[in-house]
């Protein structure tokens, strides 16, 4: 009886993904007359679309899209986790009117990203909204072009990406080394340390020679994204609050009492007892929010507009390329890159989470 559903999903998910991958290897859309033909002639051109995305001068927008997604995801995650955890801790203090506060913090989750985007677009008008809010109590107004700012900070040359990535990986490995040492596993620490050293040496000597782009190209964090990040945190931090609150409620009171009796301060209680217990929830939140953030599309569409390249992301570029410009093959290539990014965080998560379930 489950068979009809399985067939539907096999075709609509896996069949269509396969088809998209194939389309991304063709030239569909390069010839405008063929683009919308009933049976377009597709010529197989291998990885050319992908090579263009990462090396062609015309596609620098796509590379900035990736950088935008990186910074958006980073700050969106930090905002939602920090804010959500803070609210959950406050609400866990047996406050009066908890239900009212919870309802207020969570209601944006019921709204469409399109609605949120429309509202915040009005909130962030350069001459009004948040910028004139201080004048209500007599303070000078803000001057910030929220969604249209052309300022870009933390610029780097895309050609140096291998160096940056290499050093980032080495730094990540160093953190793992410290953790292994703390847990008393020197053998593991030595292996990780060695790998970190090799990667770092390579990043500083060999990576410079890796030629990924024929010309220097500056990318960085577009300040125009800040407004979108605030709106996204406004919408989604209630979700992390709900997750954390459920987690905090699951911690038995006896455990806190025991820690207090042992003379732990509130800070120590949170650091050594409660936060470690919330670890799995944080991981789940990072995965769920992270994949939402990679896919973010409607919010930016409604808030900053589809033609605002300062705030563009791959999900938006894919839509514009495929369905506005009818360059289907290039759109498909962006979609596949996006799918790979999402799969990279979702597949390991599904794997471990379902394996754990089976063991239970």
């Amino acid at each position: 009886m489950i068979l009809p559903s399985l067939i539907l999903l096999a075709v609509f998910v896996y069949g269509f993904i396969g088809r998209t991958v194939y389309v991304s290897l063709t030239n569909w859309g390069q010839d405008a007359t063929q683009a919308l033909a009933l049976n377009p002639k597709l010529v197989f051109i291998g990885l050319a679309n992908y090579v263009d995305l990462f090396t062609s001068a015309l596609d620098s927008r796509f590379r900035q899209d990736l950088v935008n997604t990186f910074f958006f995801t980073l700050f969106f995650l930090l905002g939602c986790l920090g804010f959500g955890l803070g609210l959950a801790i406050l609400l866990d203090k047996k406050v009066k009117g908890e239900g009212v506060f919870r309802t207020i913090f969570l209601f944006p989750m019921a709204l469409a990203f399109i609605v949120t985007g429309t509202i915040w677009r009005w909130m962030l008008q350069p001459q009004g909204g948040v910028n004139v809010l201080p004048t209500v109590i007599g303070l000078p107004r803000f001057e910030f072009a929220w969604l249209t700012s052309r300022v870009q900070v933390w610029q780097f040359n895309w050609q140096r990406l291998p160096v940056i990535l290499g050093l980032a990986i080495a730094a990540g490995l160093l953190v793992a080394v410290v953790r292994a040492l703390r847990r008393g596993r020197p053998g593991r620490a030595a292996v990780l340390g060695f790998v970190a050293l090799v990667v770092a040496v390579w990043a500083l000597t060999g990576a410079e020679k890796v030629d990924i782009l024929a010309f220097p190209e500056a990318h960085g964090f577009n300040l125009a994204l800040i407004g979108v990040i605030i709106a996204a945190v406004w919408q989604m931090s209630g979700y992390t609050m709900a997750l954390y609150l459920a987690g905090l409620r699951g911690i038995p009171d006896e455990l806190r009492e025991a820690a207090r009796v042992d003379g732990a301060t509130e800070l120590q209680l949170y650091r050594h007892v409660i936060f470690p217990l919330l670890g799995p929830i944080t991981l789940a939140a990072v995965i769920i929010l992270g994949h939402i953030s990679l896919k973010i599309f409607d919010l930016i569409f409604a808030m900053a507009g589809s033609d605002n390249i300062r705030t563009s992301v791959p999900a938006l570029s894919m839509y514009l390329r495929a369905f506005r410009a009818n360059r289907f093959a290039e759109g498909a290539a962006i979609a596949v890159v996006l799918l790979v990014l999402v799969a990279a965080i979702i597949v390991p998560y599904l794997w471990t989470s379902l394996r754990g379930e089976r063991r239970r």
């Binding site: 489950i2 559903s5 539907l8 999903l9 609509f12 998910v13 069949g15 269509f16 993904i17 088809r19 998209t20 389309v23 804010f83 406050l90 203090k93 047996k94 009066k96 207020i104 913090f105 209601f107 989750m109 019921a110 709204l111 469409a112 990203f113 399109i114 609605v115 985007g117 429309t118 509202i119 009005w122 909130m123 008008q125 009004g128 909204g129 004139v132 406004w234 979700y239 709900a242 997750l243 459920a246 207090r260 009796v261 732990a264 301060t265 509130e266 800070l267 120590q268 789940a284 939140a285 896919k295 409607d298 495929a322 369905f323 498909a332 979609a335 597949v347 998560y349 794997w351 379902l354």
Partner: protein
């Protein structure tokens, strides 16, 4: 009791074993946070209730000089076709995906078949994919069977891509039903559908409530499928709002009133059935 909210490093005082109660600082922070969440609501409502001529950026935060309830009448007239589209789309697709998901969940939890351990994660993966990665073939497929631009094409799409989450919620829900009840029904001679109708379905009410609320909210709010697969006549409300707000030189009271209308159905459900809404929310993080 400020200590229970903010603890400075180094200042360690022995904690009395009394349950931490909210202090005035806790309430202050909560009220500030509530302000952050409600500020946009205030702005939307007062903007919607202003006359177009009274809306200026400098007086954004002031209450309307004249309360212009007409905005909602105008927005209703402008958006009622799209609201109707959204309603038909959402009700039909929610019902379809909930029923199919219920049967799937029943099979996956009570009729373990060989390979189920492989099939289940493959089903779940379908709810995480970026829909951009299936959009081009989907668009061509719907065009091929003549459903591009029709509400039915969008309904079919939402039913299919709703299956993973509805299946997951029902599977977790049904695994709570003791197997003994199934066995007892089998002994009484009930078959696959007999068990579903007599045992599983009657016990599914709160499962259905969670799934229906979740799917209703998701489908009502969805935009990517809506904007690619529908045409002028079949636009749901999200597309209409995006088109209106995207245009320049628009009277802002109209998109704001429209946004309120578009938000109302899901917001009301959330207000009335919040508990079930949160359960759907938490189920989405796989470990139900």
């Amino acid at each position: 009791m400020t200590r229970s909210t903010v603890t400075q490093p180094g200042v360690s005082q022995p904690e009395v074993s009394r349950p931490a109660r909210g202090s005035w600082l806790t309430y202050l922070l909560l009220v500030l946070a509530a302000g952050f969440f409600l500020l946009p609501v205030y702005l939307v409502v007062i903007t919607a209730l202003k006359q177009p001529a009274d809306i200026s950026l400098a007086t954004t935060w002031q209450l309307p000089r004249v309360w212009n309830w007409q905005s909602f009448a105008v927005a209703w007239r402008a958006f009622s076709p799209q609201l109707l589209n959204s309603l038909i789309l959402t009700v039909t697709a929610t019902a379809g995906s909930a029923l199919l998901g219920s049967v799937n969940g029943y099979v996956l939890s009570k009729w373990r078949f060989p390979g189920a351990n492989i099939v289940f994660p493959l089903i779940l993966f379908g709810m995480f994919i970026p829909y951009q990665s299936i959009l081009i073939p989907l668009f061509r497929f719907l065009a091929g069977i003549g459903l591009y631009g029709s509400l039915w094409g969008l309904i079919l799409t939402h039913i299919v891509y709703g299956l993973p989450i509805t299946t997951l919620i029902f599977r977790n829900f049904y695994s709570e039903i003791p197997d003994e009840m199934i066995e007892a029904a089998k002994i009484d001679g009930a078959g696959f559908f007999g068990i579903y109708r007599r045992v599983i379905f009657p016990l599914s009410i709160s499962g259905f409530v969670v799934v229906i609320i979740w799917q209703f909210t998701q489908i009502w709010n969805e935009f990517l499928f809506a904007v690619t697969l529908t045409t002028q006549d079949t636009h749901p409300i999200t597309v209409a709002i995006a088109n209106l707000a995207g245009g320049q030189a628009v009277n802002w009271n109209l998109p704001m009133a429209g946004a309120i209308l578009a938000a109302m159905p899901t917001l009301l459900i959330y207000m009335i059935l919040g508990r079930y809404f949160v359960r759907g929310l938490l189920a989405g993080s796989v470990k139900g």
